[in-house]
């Protein structure tokens, strides 16, 4: 393997590991604010119990996000120096604003949010919770702006091969940004909804009688049931936007080699890059045309349109994009089924009489948001290849001159660390759930040891 491919795998591994945790903290911040506001409004201790459990998950996820985020800011220089040299004038300010407005807001108020409940007035603690949630969301906004600009760049001009910004409003509101932002925020919401529902289901299975657990379970299921239809609509609109601006990506997602009308929706296929066709194809006639153009006779672009005269391939690798897309959609459908079934069961039977089988199924869904989110990111990012910035900078032109064996050794080191941490993270969350379910005090639980000042709801 060459340094280019290894650097891509390394960056992909780093950013995949990183995105897992912001995906949780973005929405979990708002859910914590919801718990806190419910506590302020009702004075019911169960909401604070839910807050206290989930704030620990938040702290853990936040720390994982911070440390893996630091890695990201170095990777540009160590592996992709060409990126900042070419598009630094656009990417720089966006990254700077991300660090300035958001990162600090989160990190500085996080201390008060986590450990300050008894040290500050209740409303300051609520405010700190809000600012952390707001900060994580702003973080996501700036990063999505930059990422979207890499897909659909505008508002710039090239001088001596270097990008210079000419219109910042055009850069901020580039064509794919609104769709990508909404799609990602909803993905975060769904990931958290299933995490809360799944972990709470696990606790209910362990005969946890705490009211806080039941309220969290209900919150998770209803949140998921409400968000998933929105996500399906948002995803469809994002797909149409991609068809307009990055047709080669859509062709790869559909596994469509020749431009055609009445294009089938492929349920299964193994795209073959040697023969430039699909093996073992199973499809529903005309459905891709209907989804993408809302017309059975609509024309869907084919991959063969994106091959240069000299045979250079200008479209992304098909197999990876095709299957990432299907995994994402498949998990989405599973989410729709499980969350609506859950909402129905809650309505008919209530939280105390949920079927065991359903609770077991939901526990298994706890981390499914991650699977869908990663699959979605692989679809869109691999779908951008061979470009790093569409039409502006090819990925191969940005890679650093570091030798392949060096990149390979650091890649292996990162992968080992990440695999270990992933296991530890998931294990500790379920451990916290097991302990909480048995009613044991958690480590660092405010109620252990001497009785501290009792928590008061904010006015």
């Amino acid at each position: 393997m060459d340094a280019l491919l290894l650097s891509r795998i390394q960056f992909g591994a780093n950013i995949s590991f990183h995105i897992l945790f912001p995906t949780i903290t973005i929405a979990l911040g708002w859910v914590l604010l919801f718990f806190k506001l419910r506590f302020n409004a009702t004075g019911d201790r169960k909401w604070m119990d839910a807050y206290m459990f989930w704030v620990k998950v938040f702290a853990l996820s936040f720390a994982m996000g911070v440390v893996s985020g630091i890695t990201m800011s170095f990777q540009f220089g160590t592996n992709w120096p060409g990126f900042m040299e070419t598009v630094g004038n656009v990417a720089g300010p966006l990254l700077a604003y991300e660090v300035l407005t958001a990162f600090f807001l989160e990190a500085a108020f996080l201390g008060i949010m986590l450990f300050g409940a008894s040290r500050v007035k209740p409303w300051v603690h609520t405010l700190a919770t809000f600012l952390v949630a707001f900060g994580t969301t702003m973080s996501a906004f700036w990063i999505i702006v930059l990422n979207s600009w890499m897909h659909t760049p505008q508002g710039y001009e090239l001088r001596d091969g270097v990008v210079h910004a000419t219109d910042w409003m055009a850069i901020l509101f580039n064509p794919s940004m609104p769709y990508r932002l909404v799609h990602m925020l909803l993905a975060s919401g769904l990931t958290v909804a299933f995490l809360i529902a799944g972990i709470s289901a696990l606790r209910l299975l362990m005969k946890d009688k705490a009211e806080g657990t039941k309220s969290a379970f209900r919150t998770g299921i209803l949140m998921a049931a409400m968000l998933i239809p929105l996500q399906i609509v948002a995803g469809d609109m994002h797909g149409l936007n991609t068809l307009e601006h990055q047709p080669a990506k859509v062709a790869a997602m559909e596994g469509n080699w020749e431009t055609q009308s009445n294009a089938p929706l492929l349920l299964f296929a193994v795209p073959n890059k040697e023969t430039r066709s699909n093996d073992y194809e199973i499809g529903i006639p005309s459905l891709a045309s209907i989804i993408l153009t809302h017309d059975a006779d609509g024309v869907v672009p084919g991959l063969n349109d994106f091959v240069a005269e000299d045979g250079t391939i200008l479209h992304p690798p098909v197999l990876q994009v095709f299957w990432s897309f299907r995994v994402m959609v498949g998990v989405g459908m599973l989410m729709l089924a499980t969350s609506w079934l859950g909402a129905f069961l809650l309505w008919r039977r209530g939280v105390d009489r949920m079927p065991r089988l359903y609770l077991m199924g939901m526990s298994g869904m706890a981390f499914m948001g991650w699977v869908a989110t990663l699959a979605g990111w692989y679809t869109t990012e691999i779908g951008r290849q061979p470009w790093l910035v569409s039409g502006v900078l090819a990925t191969a032109d940005a890679v650093s001159p570091v030798a392949a064996p060096m990149v390979l050794s650091t890649l292996i080191a990162y992968l080992l660390v990440y695999a270990g941490l992933m296991i530890a993270y998931m294990w500790v969350i379920t451990y916290l759930a097991r302990k909480a379910a048995k009613g044991e005090t958690l480590p660092l639980d405010p109620r252990q040891g001497v009785a501290g000042p009792d928590l008061m709801p904010a006015e």
Partner: protein, 330 residues
């Protein structure tokens, strides 16, 4: 009026690095001191840095972010040269950051493992940062001599971090732990002295340009307060450490504040030496800077946000002032 934008950004970046070295320096130092503490003491040491470390580490992101956005060419040039130590540092930062969270949440039987990783990560971070400082000072060239020198600066910086960490604990702890921290600080002062000395002596030796900047008349005269004040501060810290603890906890803040000032002086000296180069003796800040219009956009944001950051960092330190007790989510 035209502003010297590259200079402003170099100053902002330098300030961020300095703030990082002081702030993350103390929490890294606390980690480095772990093996010398009992399990109970470790919990209190962690409690003393708990509310701060996330924000402290963010200064590194700001510093490297400013390098990335304001001097994109230099970012690539420096980081590809430092590829291996940077990777090791990042893995070390990851390990200690997550160990910090895990040790508090994992079952008691696993705590020793996380404590070990917290120590190991803190230690490796200090070593690699000091190593990179050494290589940078030597002009980013990898020869056996330079690697040897960089290994030394790695050890010195690690000991210096443990020193400022001990100074932080002196202020945040009381009783037996405070007494212990005072002896740790006494034993660690040499790291600060040798570290500053090594860099100060090596820099002019590497480049005649830097040598002339320091040792020509009349620069020598008006630069003389820098080494003199450093020597005075070292003397003051040494004197205080011999007398602490005092009745009513007087002067427990002094070692930390004086050490911060010492770090600032050392850093100012380095900045003076290298200016205007950002890649030593190869690329100046003016050659590496991004386009002025992009720098303007960042500057406006920075001027609004950095005072806010300073204000609420101060607020956070105020909220968590006083002696650290057990850490609780209350």
């Amino acid at each position: 009026m035209t502003l010297d934008l590259p200079f402003i950004f170099a100053a902002l970046m330098g300030t961020s690095i300095l703030v990082y070295v002081i702030l993350d320096g103390f929490d890294l130092g606390v980690g480095i001191l772990f093996p010398f503490a009992t399990p109970d003491e470790r919990d209190r040491m962690v409690a003393s840095i708990g509310p701060f470390w996330d924000a402290n580490e963010t200064w590194l992101v700001l510093a490297i972010g400013l390098l990335l956005v304001a001097f994109p060419v230099a970012h690539g040039a420096i980081l590809t040269q430092l590829y291996l130590p940077v990777t090791l540092m990042l893995i070390a930062l990851i390990l200690r950051g997550v160990a910090f969270e895990f040790r508090a949440k994992a079952p008691a039987g696993h705590k020793r493992t996380w404590d070990f990783l917290f120590w190991f990560g803190s230690m490796l971070t200090g070593l690699t940062q000091g190593f990179m400082l050494g290589i940078y000072v030597m002009g980013l060239a990898w020869t056996w001599w330079h690697i040897g020198f960089a290994l030394l600066t790695g050890v010195f910086l690690t000991v210096a971090y443990s020193f400022i960490g001990a100074a932080w604990i002196i202020h945040k702890a009381d009783g037996a732990l405070q007494a212990k921290a005072i002896t740790w600080a006494r034993d660690g002062l040499w790291g600060v002295v040798l570290g500053m000395g090594a860099v100060s002596l090596a820099t002019p030796y590497v480049s005649t340009r830097i040598f002339d900047k320091w040792f020509s008349w009349p620069q020598m005269l008006w630069l003389s307060p820098l080494p003199l004040a450093s020597a005075a501060l070292i003397g003051l810290v040494w004197w205080t450490l011999r007398r602490l603890p005092l009745d009513g906890d007087r002067l427990s803040w002094l070692p930390f504040v004086a050490t911060s000032a010492l770090f600032a002086l050392g850093f100012a000296g380095m900045a003076y030496s290298f200016f205007p180069y950002i890649v030593p003796e190869a690329i100046t800040i003016y050659e590496a800077a991004a386009a002025p219009e992009s720098l303007w956009i960042i500057l406006i944001g920075a001027l609004i946000v950095i005072p806010m950051i300073a204000a609420y960092s101060a607020f956070s330190y105020f909220i968590f002032r006083g002696k650290a007790t057990a850490l609780s989510y209350e």
